[in-house]
Subunit: 207 residues, 2 copies
């Protein structure tokens, strides 16, 4: 889609529509919105985008995003560095942080083992995880990967490489989501939630 | 939503989520995508946004967007300046231009009369339309406003102000969309398409 009357607008539509999930029509809508925005706000937006790319790096410890060499989570003396939560993606770190239920540190794999997509262990931040384990001082590794076949494959791969080196290896609970009806839960999840049933009192007191 | 580990990322999420239809989650997804983009591409995006705001202005003739004082449509000697198509918004200019069926010029109102939203004739580019009409040289005004109550109100308002000054005042055809089933067309549209039925041969030869 070219407007044919403004090269600047065409340029903006082209660049904005390169972003994932944004088509030409949405790009036009966003461009027209930007035109109506205050000059300062537009500068803030453009600067935030530039600064993001220029200043953000990856934490040398956990591969999370960071403004400094070591991220604020790894560098925080209040966090428990004996517990490492292994996640697929930075978005999962954000999701877990937003629960305010976790005080340990993370290890971001940058993906999961997916043979069908040609993603093997060497494509992920796995060696650095095993190095952290070998380095010692970790009492628990929590595997918080997706509840998919690829997630399970990756769980087993990690488990086989760290078993015996870590006192406790756990995985996040799979079961019925809070507020979910049994009727609409798929049978695999429901079956597993029965097998992994927990003590009522413990469950009741914990949450 | 704050990540709590990268101020730059938080800034980018905040600024991106100010855009219409983009929530915090989508903003995070876009920000992480921007991080994976090539440095040049990010610069292109940021520059396109800045240039859009700084360099684009409104055409003095038709109020369309333009990189220059007079837009490329008004300034094009091949366009028929005797025909003026009145539209609500710049997006409508883009939509009509994309049909490649129109060779006249435009007049962008910047909205329509909407008493319920407190938008009156003074809030729109109506006076400049009437000035163009008074100035002479226009043989046809096409009213291409939305087929809504507010659109009809605006149509009547314009018509009452230009009747007798312009040889022909037309409105775009309302009827069944191409590829649409009669069964699923609302009765008002279907009724009007019956009343506005056109000669088969003429219709067949024209399209």
């Amino acid at each position: 889609m070219e407007t044919g009357f403004s090269k600047q607008l065409d340029d903006a539509i082209l660049e904005i529509s390169k972003l994932p999930g944004i088509g030409k029509r949405t790009a036009l809508r966003l461009a027209l919105h930007i035109l109506k925005m205050d000059g300062n706000e537009v500068a803030l937006l453009a600067n935030a985008i530039t600064a993001l790319k220029e200043k953000v790096c990856y934490c040398k410890e956990c591969h999370n995003l960071s403004d400094t060499e070591i991220c604020d989570i790894c560098g925080n003396p209040k966090r428990n560095k004996q517990i490492v939560c292994v996640v697929q993606d930075i978005r999962d770190v954000v999701a877990i942080e937003n629960t305010h239920q976790y005080n340990g540190v993370y290890h971001v794999l940058g993906g999961i083992i997916a043979p069908m997509d040609g993603i093997g262990p060497k494509d992920l931040n796995l060696d650095s995880l095993f190095e952290r384990v070998d380095h010692g001082g970790i009492s628990e590794v929590i595997l918080a990967l997706p509840a998919t076949v690829d997630g399970d494959t990756t769980n087993f791969y990690i488990y086989n490489n760290i078993r015996g080196k870590i006192p406790i290896v756990t995985t996040i609970a799979r079961g019925i989501g809070i507020g979910e009806e049994l009727e609409y839960t798929d049978e695999v999840t429901l079956g597993r939630s029965l097998l992994s049933r927990t003590d009522f009192e413990q469950s009741y007191l914990k949450h």
